[in-house]
Structures are given as C-alpha cells and as structure tokens.
Symmetry: D3
Subunit: 223 residues, 6 copies
Amino acid sequence: MIERLRAVGTAGLSTALRRRGYHDVFLDGVRPLAPGMRLAGPARTLRFVPFRPDLFAERGGGLNPQKRAFDTVGAGEVLVIEARGRADAGTLGDILALRARYAGAAGVVSDGGVRDTAAVVATGLPVFASGSHPSVLGRRHVPWETDVVITCGGAAVVPGDIVVGDADGVLVVPAALAGQVLADAEGDEARDAWIAARVAEGESIDGLFPMNEAWLARYQASR
Amino acid sequence: MIERLRAVGTAGLSTALRRRGYHDVFLDGVRPLAPGMRLAGPARTLRFVPFRPDLFAERGGGLNPQKRAFDTVGAGEVLVIEARGRADAGTLGDILALRARYAGAAGVVSDGGVRDTAAVVATGLPVFASGSHPSVLGRRHVPWETDVVITCGGAAVVPGDIVVGDADGVLVVPAALAGQVLADAEGDEARDAWIAARVAEGESIDGLFPMNEAWLARYQASR
Amino acid sequence: MIERLRAVGTAGLSTALRRRGYHDVFLDGVRPLAPGMRLAGPARTLRFVPFRPDLFAERGGGLNPQKRAFDTVGAGEVLVIEARGRADAGTLGDILALRARYAGAAGVVSDGGVRDTAAVVATGLPVFASGSHPSVLGRRHVPWETDVVITCGGAAVVPGDIVVGDADGVLVVPAALAGQVLADAEGDEARDAWIAARVAEGESIDGLFPMNEAWLARYQASR
Amino acid sequence: MIERLRAVGTAGLSTALRRRGYHDVFLDGVRPLAPGMRLAGPARTLRFVPFRPDLFAERGGGLNPQKRAFDTVGAGEVLVIEARGRADAGTLGDILALRARYAGAAGVVSDGGVRDTAAVVATGLPVFASGSHPSVLGRRHVPWETDVVITCGGAAVVPGDIVVGDADGVLVVPAALAGQVLADAEGDEARDAWIAARVAEGESIDGLFPMNEAWLARYQASR
Amino acid sequence: MIERLRAVGTAGLSTALRRRGYHDVFLDGVRPLAPGMRLAGPARTLRFVPFRPDLFAERGGGLNPQKRAFDTVGAGEVLVIEARGRADAGTLGDILALRARYAGAAGVVSDGGVRDTAAVVATGLPVFASGSHPSVLGRRHVPWETDVVITCGGAAVVPGDIVVGDADGVLVVPAALAGQVLADAEGDEARDAWIAARVAEGESIDGLFPMNEAWLARYQASR
Amino acid sequence: MIERLRAVGTAGLSTALRRRGYHDVFLDGVRPLAPGMRLAGPARTLRFVPFRPDLFAERGGGLNPQKRAFDTVGAGEVLVIEARGRADAGTLGDILALRARYAGAAGVVSDGGVRDTAAVVATGLPVFASGSHPSVLGRRHVPWETDVVITCGGAAVVPGDIVVGDADGVLVVPAALAGQVLADAEGDEARDAWIAARVAEGESIDGLFPMNEAWLARYQASR
C-alpha cells in the first residue's frame, strides 16, 4: 500500500482527505532538497525544544534523542522532525543521513534546516526541509524526545501516520484512513487521467471537468 | 511586438517604465515553475475571494469562473490569477494547464499555489506562481469573477495589460505604453550590450557605465 | 589558505567558530544564483541606504559607490552588499558582474536582488543573493559608501573578513581567527569523513558519533 | 437585531458560525483605534487596487469611489475597506470619518492604515484598522469600486453581511444566517454566564464546563 | 522569593541570566492583556498541537487537558500555554480565567489568542498573550498534554521554571538559578537606581554608567 | 519652526513631501511608548551593527557610541537609532532616557526595543520604538558609530533632518525643505479644518473635498 500511496501522490490524497474533513494535514514550508525527490512511509517522530544551556547539558550529548532516532529508524520509515519552522540551524547532516539511508529509511522531513546539504543529497535519501544552514543544531535546539505527537510544518504528526511527499509538498494520512483514502485517490486519479487525455485531444472542459452525465457515461463505458 | 517584448525582457522594460513614473508594476513573490520559463502576452484576469461555504456553493461548482477562464483563454494570452499571495492551496492543476496549453495560451501567472506540479511542468506551459501545494482551491478560495482589474503579486493588473515574465520576475506594461516602452528598452539594451562587450574586453566602467561623452561618441559611431 | 577554507566549507567552519563564541556570523536569507556555486575570499563592503531623492541626487549618478566598488574589486575578493534584505530591487546586473569577473573577484554576496539574472549566471561569477528582480537599484536604494562595517543577511561584515559560501549558506570568518578556525575545521572534517565511512559500512552511531574512547582509539590508529 | 448582535459579541457569534461550517469569517489583523470600540451593522464595501499612475488618473480624483462610499454610507451601516492588509498608507482620515459619523454610520473596518488618528478617534466613530500612517492613500492605492464582494483581513465580505466588532476582533455574519446565529449565540451566552457565576462561586469546571447531565438539569431548572 | 522576583522585574533578571549564558529565555511576541499587568510564579505547562479531527475527537472534549490544567492550577502558579505563536484562535476565555483567578493562580502566558478579552481583563487575572481572537481553540488546536517541557514565545519552558512578566516582556528563570539570579539582579538594580539618581541630578554618564573606580567608591560609600 | 512642525503633524507634512517626490520618508514599525507622545527636532543618529564578540570587545564597553550619543544629545534634538527593526533586544533603558531628558532632548526614535519600559515612560521623554524587551543591547547589537546617515524604520535618516512623530507615525523632513514643506502643510491644514467644519455641519463632500471652484471661492472669502 505504501508504494501505491507514493505513486498516487499528495494532490490526489489531499482531495480524499478533504472529503473526510481533514483540511489541516499539510506539512507546509518544506521543500525537497533536490528536484524529483518523493517519499512515503509510516512516521517516526523527533521533537526539538529551543536551546537552553541546562536542557542541552541534560539531553544534548552522546546518543541524544536525535541520534537515537536516526540510529533506530527502520526500513521504510519516514523520520519527521519538529524544529518549529526555523531554517537558521541544521537539524540533520551527512552522517545521520547516511545512517538513515543504510537502515533503508524512506526519508526525512524536517521543518528546520539541513547541514552538509551537498553530501546529504549525495546519499540519495529523500529529504524535505525548510532550508539549508551550516550551523549545528545546538544553535537553536535541544533534541528532546522521540515517538510522541509532534508539530511539523504546521500540522500534527502522530507516530505511525503515513507521510507522503512529492513535488507538490508533504502531507500525512492518519493510518486508520489510509486504505479508504488511497482507494478514493486512485479512483480520482484514473478519472482525471482520462479527462486529461480528452483535454489533450482538444475537448472543452465545459461539462467534462467536472464531468456531466454524458461524459460520465462515456468514461464509465471506457473502463 | 509581443515577441520583441518577450525578447527584451523584464529588466529592460522595468527601466523604461520607471522613466514614465511606473514604479509599482512588479508581480513580486512569483517564480517560474521550472528554470528557463519566459512568457509575454496580453492579460486575461481571474479573481478569487476567500473561501466561505455560501459563496463556494454559489460559484464553486461546475463551469465556475476559474474553469471558464481556462476554457476560454485565447492563443497568446496570459491568464493572471489573484490569490492574495497564499501559497497554501492550489489555484491550477494539470487539467487546466493542459487546456490552456491546447488553446495556445502564452502562460499563467498566479500569486497562489500550483497543484500537480510535475504534470503542469510537463505540459510545457510557462507558469509563474508563489509555490506548490497539493490541495484544491476550495481550501482557501472561491473562484469569483473574470476580466476585471485584479491584484497579483502586489500589482494592479488590467485586462489587456502586457504581461512579461522571465528569470528576473514578472511585470505588466500598460497596453497604451507598450510601443514606446519597447522602443526605449530595445535602445537601452543595444547600448548595454555594447557596454558589456567593452567591459568583457577589460575596460573600466568609469566613464563607460553610464557613458560619458567620449564613450557615447564611440558608441554612436559604432552603430 | 583561502582555497582550503573554500574546500572545508561552511558547515565545518561554523562548528569551529561556535567553539570560540561566534554564533552570529551567518549571512542568512541569501542563496546561490545557480546550483553548485561556492566562494571564499576577503570581504570588500558596499552599503546602500533607502532611496530618497536628495540622497540619490548626491550619490546615485556617475561612478557612484556601487560602481566604484565593482570597478575596484580585486582578484580573489568577495564584494558584500548591504541591501537590508530587500529582494524587491536589483543591486547588481550583468555589466557589473562582468566587470567583477574580469577583475578576478571571488564572488558577490548581496542581501538584495539580482537583475539580468540569466546573464549574471552566464558570466560564471559566483553570486549569492536574496532573490531576482527586474528593477534598478534606484527603486529602493542609494549607493552610499564602501569599505565600512556593514550588515548583510543579519550579520556584521568587516572589510577583510573571510567570506565563505556554499550550498549550506554563507558565513564570515574574522580574519584574525581564520588560521585556527581552519585548522579546527579540517581536523573535524577528517574525523567526520572517517565516521561517515564507518556508518556507510553499517556501524551504529551509538558510541561512534560522537566517538567514545574505543572508537577514538581506532580513529587515531587509522591516521 | 443589530443591537442584539452587537451586545452578544464576536466570541459567541463565532461559535454559532463554526457550528454551521463557517470557519473563515474573521477579519484578522485589524484592531480598534481606541480601547472599548464596538460596532455592528450591515456592510457597505469599498475596494482599493495597488497604485498605478494611469489607474489613479482614471479614478483617483474628485468624488472618487472612496469619497463616494463615505458620502453615501447610510445610518447604521459599516463601511468595510479592502486595502490588502497594508498598514503603510492611510485609507481614511478625519474629514471622511466626520462625514460617516454625521451620516450615522455604525463604523468603519479597513485592513489598511488610518490617517489623522487622533482626530478620527475624536469623532467618536468606531474604526477598526491595521494601523496608523501619515500618508495619503495614493502612496499605495487607487480607490477602485464600491458595493462588490471584497477581501478584508483575509475574509470575504459581501455587501449586506452583518459586521460585528469588539475587543476580540471583527467578523462577518452572512445576512441569511443572522437570525439563527444570533439565537444560538444568545443561548450559549446565557448558559456560559450561568457557568461563570458558578465558577466564581468556586465550583470546579469538571462536569460543569462543558456541563454534564446533572449540571444541565440544574441550569435548566434555574431558568 | 517570588515576590522579590516580581519586584525586580524582567530587565534586571535578564542581565543576571545573560551573565550565566542564558540568552534564550524570553517568551517573545506576548503582551499584557491590559496595561500594568505583572506576574511571577512557578510554571505549569499546557501543550496544544494543530487541529485534526481524529485528535480532537480523542482529546478535545469533556475535561480535556486544557480544562484540567485550568481546573488544577495552584495558588501562585503561572499557567504557560504552547500555541505555536498563532493569534488566530482563542486559547483561553473568561470561564477558564475565572477559574484560575479563583484558585489564586499568579497568571497565564499563552503564545496564542485570548477570547472574551474584556471579561478576562475584568477577572483581574494577569494574562500575557499574542493577541485577541473570537474563535474557540478548536479552530487551530487540540489540547494535548500538561506538565511537560513546552515551547512558548520561542523559549523552552520547564514545569517549575519561574516565569516573570511585566511591561518589558516575559522570561523564565530556571528554578535552580533563581536564588543567585535574584541576588545579582537586586544588586544591579540598587546600583542602577543610585546611578539614575545621579543622572537625574545632571551628572554625565561618562564614567558613571558603567561606573569607573571613582564613582564606584562613592557608590560603595553611600550604602 | 520646530514648534510649528510639531503642531502641524505628520499627516500634513506627508502630503507636502509627497508633492515634492518624497514618498519614502516614513520610519515605519515604530510606535509611541505611551499614548499621546509627540516629538519634533533635528536628528542626531546612532548606528548599531549585529553582535559579534570581537566587535563588541572593540566598541561595546565604557563610554561606547550609544552612551556617548545619549550623553551628548542636545536640547531640542531627536536621537534616532538604527537597530535593523529588531524588537528582540533593548536599545535604550531608563538611565539613558533620564540623561536625554535632563539634556532637554526632544525625544528618541529607535527601530529596536526599549528596556525598563515603565521607567522610561515615567521620565516623560517622548520615545517611539518597535517594542519592549527586557534584554540588554548586547544580545543583538554592537553600538558602532554616531552622526552618520542611517536607516531607521525603512527610511534613510541624515543628521540634521527634522524628525516629526505623533499618533500617525514618524517621518523625516530634509532640513533644506523644512520651510516650504511647513508652509504647504499649514496651508493644507487650514483648508482641511475649514472643510471639516463644513462636513460637521452636514455638507456632502461632493465638490467640497476636494473643493470645486464654488467652494474654493467661499473658502477664500472666509479667510
């Protein structure tokens, strides 16, 4: 199912989610680190809080929550990082990206910055972030905890949500809805592809998009 | 003339407009959807207002103003969309882009988002927008009316204005000024190309850019 | 040393600067005009103030401070421009970029806009800026003075500071610290490259990043 | 009914609107010009577009749409101005405020700036705006048209909508919903006032806010 | 000690915290709901996450975390709310403020909005927030959990931190530092008051602020 | 003349400046620290640059440029501070305000924050700033130099410019234009006051504002 979610993409899923009252599932303000990146997979989460010396002393060193998250991310998972939308500090770099890549992670989404950008891109790991920045995370963040409900890009992300990202953006699909949302989205996409083919042939969109009964009949006959 | 406006580009036109007191003709905050996109053509306009259930019920369905605009955009025209600068909802997608492309439209400028980004780029239609977003327009907008004076990217756009876009940005040239502005801009560009050639040969810009009388004489002699 | 600073890059330098209490050396909000641009070199500075007719009359014409700065930038130098972060006016164009390129300048960093973007990229000069814009600088700026301490991208820049830029961003290294900061950064980079190689082989980062004593011993033995 | 809408206030109306799917009816970013201002009344609308010399020549002079709107605003009406959220130019001043006050207007809401702030406050007219600014509207705006659907503070405003403003903010109630929304809001308010009285007596809010069956029974018995 | 922290105020505490490396303890973007409000007390915390239907269904109803926090806030405590800086929804209203007031809470700090503003002010409870808004919290938030480390106004807040607010803003003092920070701040304040008295008598600040040895001797003699 | 500039106020001066092509003279984003503050006087200037340890060591201590500026500000002068619009650090506090007050300064305008807000207000010195903040200036700034052309609130300020501030905002009048701008503004104000009186009597603004020939004749006859 993950593969099909990745294939159908965020635009189609967004419509199916909207139909069920899910309007606020978009992780806005993040962009793929390189053109063409896509990802889909269940969310692992990591939450940063603002830098403070005592908190950094408590949780910033050694195998801190950030490093533990990257060290334990599983094959097919997407690590999602709450960095409060701040692009002025790195939230991952090349070593952590390599580790996630080695583990077979499906990607990383951070609403903070990326460090070692060129090297991170070179790992081949799909990464969506709010920008690039040379600094280490300690400039702004303390890595605080993992596997809790977080905010990323203005949306709530629950561990286990299905995260999907492509050139249109990134969104989450609550796991309980994934099956029906996917079915809807695939149906919509088949219909829209058929409409697009008609438009490419020169048809007016009047009555075709959205389809009136006549066009709907032709569409259904074509299947 | 449209072709010449497209060739001379926004930088040259901007100077000629400024000379006539037009300082606020820039559609800021929009970027080409893919590198290298350029466009020029007379403006068709489309105005969205913020989403509200009653207004969407009134004008959101069927061949609404958005769809009518895309269905009737003419060859060589540029469709300009007022979306109040919000990148958090789509304002066009692949089917509408295909339709505009089929009609021979010169392009689309929207200060909202684009949906189905990859497929829109694939149509070959030049599109300038404020970002990409998976959601449908109903998340934020009601398509309200066409062919009125609108605001896009902070500038007023009048139906029939000449819209020009390239790597520097997008601007409008009031139709009544297009001829003289073009003449000015072409003259400036010829002069600047000649200056650039001298600079590339190693000349100092002191006295050359802007040209003093001596350099002006040499320039005029060269023509 | 400049070449080595360029090679080690901003991420490594940022850590070494942080260790010495330099947290606010980042020229944020600027991006390379084309992918892959990098630069390093001592700063020349240029300060713009907001447009006002009397001030523009006094310093806007002829070989004004902007043109003088580009005409006299030396081989290997980086010209840094204070434009108050405004992307809504050009702060350099193709003729000035050509001149800097001819002089062998290492690059330009402006927290304002670039005009003639395609032509500037074509010169091959590395340029980092806050965006592109068709307008001339007189829309927002008066070129005021050169070779003073300025603000660019939120950081103070002193003439002679070493400016380094790459895909992660741009920062300044105070000249007096350049030697020790470089030494630190190269040491860190060698260590991190060795760690990355281990991670690529499948090692956990637990104990390896950061290194515990056992890993440190292996690292030191490897050198 | 207007008086009752004004009395019940925006907080109560907001809940009743939300219950009917109206989530985006808030004119955000505007504040009362002086503490304690309140207003309620049917909307008259005025739309500005960005300044451009030709458009200002066409509609900026004489009894332009701005002046006509203020000259004809009726007793009890609220004039709502679309100024694209820009606080950097005045959109009304003391003479126009006086005129509206003389006509018995219920108030003005502008998402632009106010000029002659002290004198406008002295007229006693309730005004909500995005700030104060000394400049005339021609710095940023052309007064374009009246009595059309506009955007103000991020919400669509239809002529005839009921506009209500108080210390919490400003919102619109679609005219067709005003009766039922008011009834709901008054019911809620009576209940909340009763709850508040209990809380002021020291009751825990557990079971009381929201009310469980026991508290509901006591509430209903009290009426 | 709380009373003395409140008396010394945020400006003095800020200097003493800075001396110990605490630069990022400010809850920026919040303002007192009415002039003259001040507060000090140990922090209770409440964390909201972005609205989503399934999460709201899970934790939005009944005695949810928001209501539980207000129902159990203790005498002298300050309730601090993480609302991600969004002023476009209420995060507390008059009933909850009354409850906190009844319990003797020292105040509330929210980086979200306040609903029923006039009634909240009337309770006399000191409240600092990012603005006022008529809507209920469900427009943007799900009340998620209490008594965890949160972010408010860009700073980390730990349950038990001492929160201090006045006309200059709001900050947190880590509990372990409160004693020494207070001592420092009181010492600074005594000195600055003495300096201010000299300045009011007409002394130049040269040598006096900061004090040179001569002035320091006079100051110490005066005590 | 200063007294008359203060009396006529920023709205009237703005129109007279606009007539001469001065559109960008507004110090936007600053507000009076307490209601009713007004100021007018020639500008003294003070420029801060972003914090950096080496620069602060060089110019942050002792009688630094900030303290020297406050210590030497003359009777009737307005001290204007460039703080790059950052409200997250103090740029003056009570001791410096007292000193300026003692010297008879006309006021202070800073596009940074104010510390010790209540005490600064109590001095009676008119202060316009971008906000309040508890921190010292060293959190963000190095006091760099005085008596140079600076940027404040987005406008260029030249030492000797006449600075005028009231409830509408703050602007600068270039000294060379002050006489004629004042004459214009006083003429406009007399006319507008006469118009306002007519409007208060119930006249329509049609033909009156702006005045047609008939009203103009009556106005001139009235003088």
